[in-house]
Symmetry: C2
Subunit: 244 residues, 2 copies
């Protein structure tokens, strides 16, 4: 705990900013960070929804600024998305990747700015379809959850979507595209749009959830989620050790 | 192994059909099954892409026909999607759920016919966005895979998307919708469409995959995937045992 921002960033090599998700706040905080931090320190923001070009453009040290978007809870989910502004130096990304990797995180690089980066865009695509399917009564919210946790999500906990589809056709990804893109084109043509998050659909989704939110429920489920994530991390580490 | 279809379905209570994915074949096979199987046997098709109303309408026993769509590999991924035609009897679905559950599968019910059912619609939504993000150069295919297997997919291996978002806002799902649907609406408004599966995007995706497909590579990775799925199933069973 430091008494001031100047104290906090004195002699540091890396700053991870976690201020409010408002662009004016990011502008103010990064102006201070750029003024106070050692000139070779990297300045990373945890923001999930504000690209770096919106709050770093006018800084003398803008080349050392980037997004380093972690996933909640960051000590249990290793992924961190790195995304620079157009003026972020390539070495900034390279050094940030090394630093995150050295503390056990898994950094990925987003090559151009895009709203939602990668993780939330993938999550959002699945979530919109989930909101539609439950909101329109095709499936219960609980059965939709089963579809993921007892189906799709099993492979995805250790294989990415491209690794997954590579094994779903005898000739790998080119063969998969040949066989199945006709089907997926049809699905994409009827995919859920932004209206699933509006009334009445969003009210249907909220009404479909059979549990009442309470501070006790959320706290106890969050603790159990974190225990499960920690146990899964240990399980995965053991599997990888067996492999090599 | 039976010498004929008549032998195969003699005295059975449940048929799981795995014929070719062509509607004419399903029509021919189900006509035979309905003629030969005991009158109280359920007739389930494994099809992932053909709804039951397209091949059961004219059968005397159409009320006992349904889709029971498993996930590959079915002995390691327990989910089965059940979906009847409009004329499928509710008891058919109820009995099929019981039978699948009794052999350790996790059945879910799709209440109305929809192309792709639930699992492939969710997979397709994420896959389309993945094809776009890689095809347009926002991220490498390997980093996209990391985003899932070291990020999103960890929670999804034991929590569904609704259970996940319930814990991401202090007041649960209603609070989550209040806080974040504005953001997700923006993402949905710019979501990937069917063109991501066409040239040139699909060629970019195929070109972005750094591995050459070969029978040996696919066979060895498939074996490893199945070992990992089996180990994950054991891990999950242990976690659930600890809970209770």
């Amino acid at each position: 705990m430091a008494a001031s921002l100047a104290d906090a960033v004195k002699d540091v090599a890396f700053v991870q900013e976690n201020g409010p998700e408002k662009v004016e706040d990011k502008i103010a905080i990064f102006a201070e960070l750029d003024r106070l931090a050692p000139p070779d320190a990297l300045l990373a923001s945890s923001t999930s929804a504000i690209v770096a070009s919106r709050f770093t453009e006018n800084l003398p040290g803008r080349a050392r600024c980037l997004i380093g978007h972690p996933v909640n809870p960051p000590h249990l989910i290793p992924l961190v998305e790195l995304c620079g502004a157009p003026w972020t130096a390539p070495e900034t990304i390279t050094r940030a990747r090394e630093i995150y990797r050295s503390i056990g995180q898994v950094p990925i690089t987003v090559h151009r700015e895009i709203n939602g980066f990668i993780l939330n865009r993938l999550q959002g695509a699945l979530l919109a379809e989930a909101f539609r399917l439950v909101g329109e009564g095709f499936v219960s919210a609980e059965d939709l959850d089963h579809t993921v946790k007892d189906g799709l999500g099993l492979r995805w906990s250790f294989l990415g979507p491209f690794e997954t589809i590579e094994l779903n056709a005898p000739g790998g990804i080119p063969d998969y595209c040949e066989r199945y893109t006709g089907f997926y084109k049809e699905l994409a043509a009827s995919a859920a749009g932004p209206d699933v998050y509006k009334s009445p659909n969003v009210d249907n989704v909220i009404g479909a959830w059979p549990h009442q939110a309470s501070a006790e429920r959320i706290a106890s489920l969050t603790q159990r989620r974190n225990e499960r994530l920690a146990a899964l991390a240990a399980h995965k580490a053991q599997q990888v050790a067996t492999e090599s």
